[in-house]
């Protein structure tokens, strides 16, 4: 139920931000639409903690800050290597252990890896992630577990 409420709130925000027309008719239609979407979403069984990760809310902004910093750094490296000659890269494929328990956590971790240029999470099996990296050192920095630790912290 709380997920539904949360979805309702986010949907309403979405509508209000997008609409730009706040006449009575449009608002009413918006309400009807949101209700309809809620009905469909419930029927489709997509309203749960996976789609509405309200339990993560507390720490997520801090994590985002950190992630953005990482992304910027990684971007600079990759761009550098793009403009350097092709010999400078050292593509690597590696399995990395992860410590997250929930699916949500795993997904956040995997997506974070992918978001950071230079590394891509290829597969996610149980508690291992196969990572492909443009540079060997990227994998090594992943293996140090900084990101892993931060994501695991999110879960709590």
């Amino acid at each position: 139920m709380k997920h539904t409420v949360s979805l309702f709130i986010t949907l309403s925000a979405f509508w209000l931000l997008n609409s730009g027309h706040y006449s009575l008719l449009i608002l009413f239609l918006g309400f009807v639409s949101i209700t309809l979407v809620l009905v469909i979403a419930n029927k489709m069984d997509v309203v749960d903690q996976e789609s509405q990760p309200i339990h993560l809310k507390r720490n997520i902004f801090g994590y985002f800050g950190w992630l953005i910093k990482e992304i910027v750094q990684a971007n600079i490296t990759v761009v550098k290597h793009i403009w350097l000659s092709g010999e400078s890269i050292s593509p690597t494929l590696k399995k990395i252990k992860i410590t997250q328990q929930t699916d949500m956590g795993k997904v956040i971790y995997a997506n974070s890896i992918t978001l950071t240029p230079g590394t891509v999470a290829i597969d996610l099996v149980d508690d291992e992630i196969i990572v492909h990296a443009l540079l060997l050192k990227d994998v090594e920095s992943l293996e140090t577990g900084e990101m892993d630790r931060r994501v695991t912290m999110l879960e709590r």
């Binding site: 931000l17 761009v79 403009w83 092709g86 240029p117 230079g118 891509v120 597969d123 492909h132």
Partner: protein, 116 residues
């Protein structure tokens, strides 16, 4: 104030477009699929983000601003997801990356996959 807005947005836009352009070059220059994907990732994240932020700065309307935010969120959500799915599909269908250190492993995998 106007000057600041113009300059800052110009800065973001320029950096963003440079990043995108670099990504495009990388897409052409990198040797195999997986490495190219990294190049594409550049454009998806920081490139797109920079440009959108640049636009946000010059937007005068709340509506436009909020929509730009939405676009940004979507890009950040969808970009890595597609990359990941793509990589996974490629990997599972046997497309092996060219890597420095796993030539032997690569060969072993190929032989094993050729006679299941």
């Amino acid at each position: 104030m106007d000057i600041i807005i113009t300059i800052s947005s110009g800065f973001f836009l320029l950096v963003g477009s440079f990043l995108c352009f670099s990504g495009g070059i990388g897409l052409l220059r990198f040797p195999d699929f997986y490495t190219r994907m990294h190049a594409a990732g550049v454009t998806d994240t920081l490139g797109a983000g920079m440009i959108l932020i640049g636009l946000m700065i010059i937007s005068t309307d709340l509506l436009v601003f909020s929509k730009l935010v939405l676009v940004l969120l979507l890009t950040l959500l969808i970009g890595p997801t597609t990359s990941h799915v793509l990589a996974k599909a490629a990997y599972h269908n046997g497309l092996m990356p060219k890597t420095l250190n796993n030539h032997e492993k690569n060969n072993a995998k190929e032989t094993s996959s050729s006679n299941p």
